[in-house]
């Protein structure tokens, strides 16, 4: 489990992470989503104690990460794929890390096998492709067989087969009860891999929700209706508490009322409907909507974060 409270990080004039509070639960894949520059990597660095927070705190498994004497057994992290001395072989790179935590050579061989790098284990890491670098980084994260895994943009540079492989691996790790926290700016990838989402923009929390709730809640889904008596219908629906926006011609964009409710209102008042359809915003639409403008962050965030009363 990863817990953050009031986490902020300022670099000079830039507030990279702004009062971020969230919980990453075990047994699930949690996606950490935000546009480039939203503060995802900074947050992960704060979790690992690589950077010190300006204020707030974050714990891994109940303690600050830097308190652990052999942290590779607590959490494994893939931050940058190429954070490797290019002159060292994959095996030696992992061995040097393993030794610091008293992890055996046999385990180094195991993780190399697990990520599919056994055949190039003796090759210099400097010659690796980005995808191989990701696999090496993942191998390092797995060294201590930790209950918490944290991966920054793990699918970057992977080929389709690799993407499928890592998706399956992460899901199975979560199914074993581990906490899996991965960042991405690719929403489509997240919708396939993640169970929960933590969405940030410009360092602030926008939403902390499940993928399913994220899709169905809020302004994203709407009902579209067309009617020759559009004005009358709009007034009736608004009286029922729905929000109605006039669109081109005689079309209405209705939020806050399901299509069956709209149909019922129309029938009860003798209104002719020429179209009645329900629209589910795609994950991308919702995401773009949320992250488009920092002014919207706060309101959108309040509306979406479950459990806030």
């Amino acid at each position: 489990m990863i817990e953050a409270s009031g986490l902020s990080k300022r670099y000079g004039a830039t507030l990279a992470v702004d009062d971020l509070s969230f919980t990453v639960l075990p047994g699930q894949v949690t996606g950490f989503l935000g546009p480039n520059g939203a503060g995802k990597s900074t947050t992960m660095r704060l979790i690992l104690g690589l950077d010190a927070p300006t204020s707030g705190w974050v714990t891994v498994g109940g303690r600050p990460y830097t308190d652990y004497r052999r942290p590779l057994f607590q959490a494994g992290a893939l931050l940058e794929a190429k954070a490797v001395h290019g002159g060292r072989s994959a095996y030696n790179h992992l061995l040097c890390l393993a030794l610091s935590n008293g992890i055996s050579r046999a385990r180094v061989g195991q993780v190399l096998n697990q990520v599919g790098l056994a055949s190039v284990a003796r090759k210099r890491a400097g010659g690796f492709s980005l995808g191989m670098g990701q696999r090496l980084g993942l191998a390092a994260a797995l060294l201590g067989d930790p209950p918490v895994l944290m991966l920054d943009e793990p699918v970057n540079g992977l080929d389709p087969e690799g993407v499928l492989w890592i998706r399956t691996l992460l899901k199975s790790l979560a199914a074993e009860g581990r906490t899996v926290f991965l960042s991405s700016h690719l929403l489509s990838e997240m919708s396939l891999t993640a169970d929960r989402l933590i969405i940030i923009g410009r360092g602030r929390l926008i939403a902390q929700t499940t993928v399913a709730d994220f899709l169905s809640s809020g302004a994203g889904s709407f009902v579209r209706a067309r009617s020759p008596q559009a004005d009358v219908l709009a007034a009736l629906l608004e009286a029922h508490g729905a929000a109605v926006a006039r669109q081109a011609g005689d079309a209405l964009r209705i939020t806050g009322a399901a299509s069956d409710a709209v149909g019922e209102v129309a029938r009860a008042n003798g209104i002719t409907l020429t179209e009645l359809s329900e629209h589910q915003a795609s994950l991308e639409d919702r995401y773009m909507e949320l992250t488009a403008d920092s002014v919207d962050y706060r309101t959108a965030g309040d509306a979406l974060v479950p459990g806030r009363k």
């Binding site: 409270s5 009031g6 009062d19 509070s21 660095r45 690992l48 104690g49 690589l50 950077d51 010190a52 705190w57 714990t59 109940g62 303690r63 600050p64 990460y65 830097t66 308190d67 652990y68 004497r69 052999r70 942290p71 590779l72 992290a77 931050l79 940058e80 190429k82 954070a83 490797v84 001395h85 290019g86 002159g87 060292r88 072989s89 030696n92 790179h93 061995l95 040097c96 890390l97 030794l99 610091s100 935590n101 008293g102 390092a140 706060r298 965030g301 309040d302 806030r308």
Partner: protein, 273 residues
């Protein structure tokens, strides 16, 4: 309104038991021996020291008068390779730290060992051991190479039992080690390889140029305390005017090395990685 999570103090930072320092030492020695730069640097130190001594031993005697041979500090001559090898040891010291920052490896390192000062202590220990062994062994090798290449019966021949000789040859190895540690400290402070190397070369070679612009009396006073002038004394057998005593000189050089090293230990826990 944004609801704020209830303020809760950060869990106690009271550390658990310390990580096994031996494990961290093993990790750091693994890092040092698995990059080629270490191998090349050690080889270069040995080659520079030994080859210079051999060449000087073979060629010099034929071009020197008896008077010159009598007055020259032949131990210092035999250790002439130090002028090159000191730079190599210093560079290796810089790279031991700065290459981790340059490649991003430092983040993997600190994620594995969040006890940063312990990590830097292990790094310093391992590097110092390697530099010490390389330095002393290569200086003795240089000394013997010089003797071997001197013509039989040449007056510049010495033995280790003569006054100051053993101290000078061993001291030359220590001198190299101290310069390496100086480089390591600079690497920890500056973190960029290029920047740290620039500072290293600057500190070694620029002060004597600047001091030479000063009046002679000032030169005599200040000159002895410049890093290289102070360090030179440990591998000289003939004491020259306006220089420090050998061990005092090495001590002064060590102080120069301790400054960036101390700063490095302070900064590593206070800076973002």
């Amino acid at each position: 309104m944004q609801t704020i999570a209830p303020p809760r103090p950060a869990p106690s930072r009271a550390p658990g038991p310390l990580p096994h320092f031996a494990d961290i030492l093993r990790s750091e020695s693994c890092k040092l021996r698995t990059v080629r730069s270490t191998f090349w640097a050690v080889a270069a130190v040995v080659v520079f020291n030994v080859a210079t001594a051999a060449v000087l031993g073979a060629l010099l005697p034929a071009h020197m008068s008896a008077h010159e041979k009598a007055t020259i500090d032949s131990i210092r001559v035999s250790l002439g390779g130090l002028h090159l090898s000191q730079v190599v040891v210093g560079l290796l010291g810089v790279l031991v730290v700065s290459s981790e920052y340059g490649t991003g490896m430092i983040r993997a390192t600190l994620a594995a060992v969040p006890q940063r000062r312990l990590m830097l202590a292990a790094k310093t220990t391992v590097f110092t051991a390697v530099a010490l062994v390389t330095g002393i062994a290569s200086c003795f090798a240089a000394y013997y190479a010089f003797q071997v290449f001197l013509p039989a019966g040449d007056s510049m021949r010495t033995t280790l039992s003569e006054p100051g000789v053993l101290r000078a040859v061993t001291g030359a190895g220590l001198y190299l080690t101290v310069l390496g540690v100086f480089g390591l400290g600079l690497g920890a402070v500056v973190r960029s390889s290029a920047g740290a190397i620039a500072v290293l070369l600057g500190v070694l070679f620029v002060p004597s140029i600047l001091v030479s612009l000063l009046p002679q009396s000032w030169q005599d006073t200040i000159g002895a305390y410049l890093p290289m002038n102070a360090g030179d004394t440990i591998y000289s057998v003939h004491h020259q005017a306006h220089t420090l005593q050998p061990w005092t000189g090495l001590g002064v050089l060590s102080l120069y090395a301790v400054i960036p090293l101390t700063a490095g230990f302070f900064l590593i826990s206070h800076r973002d990685a």
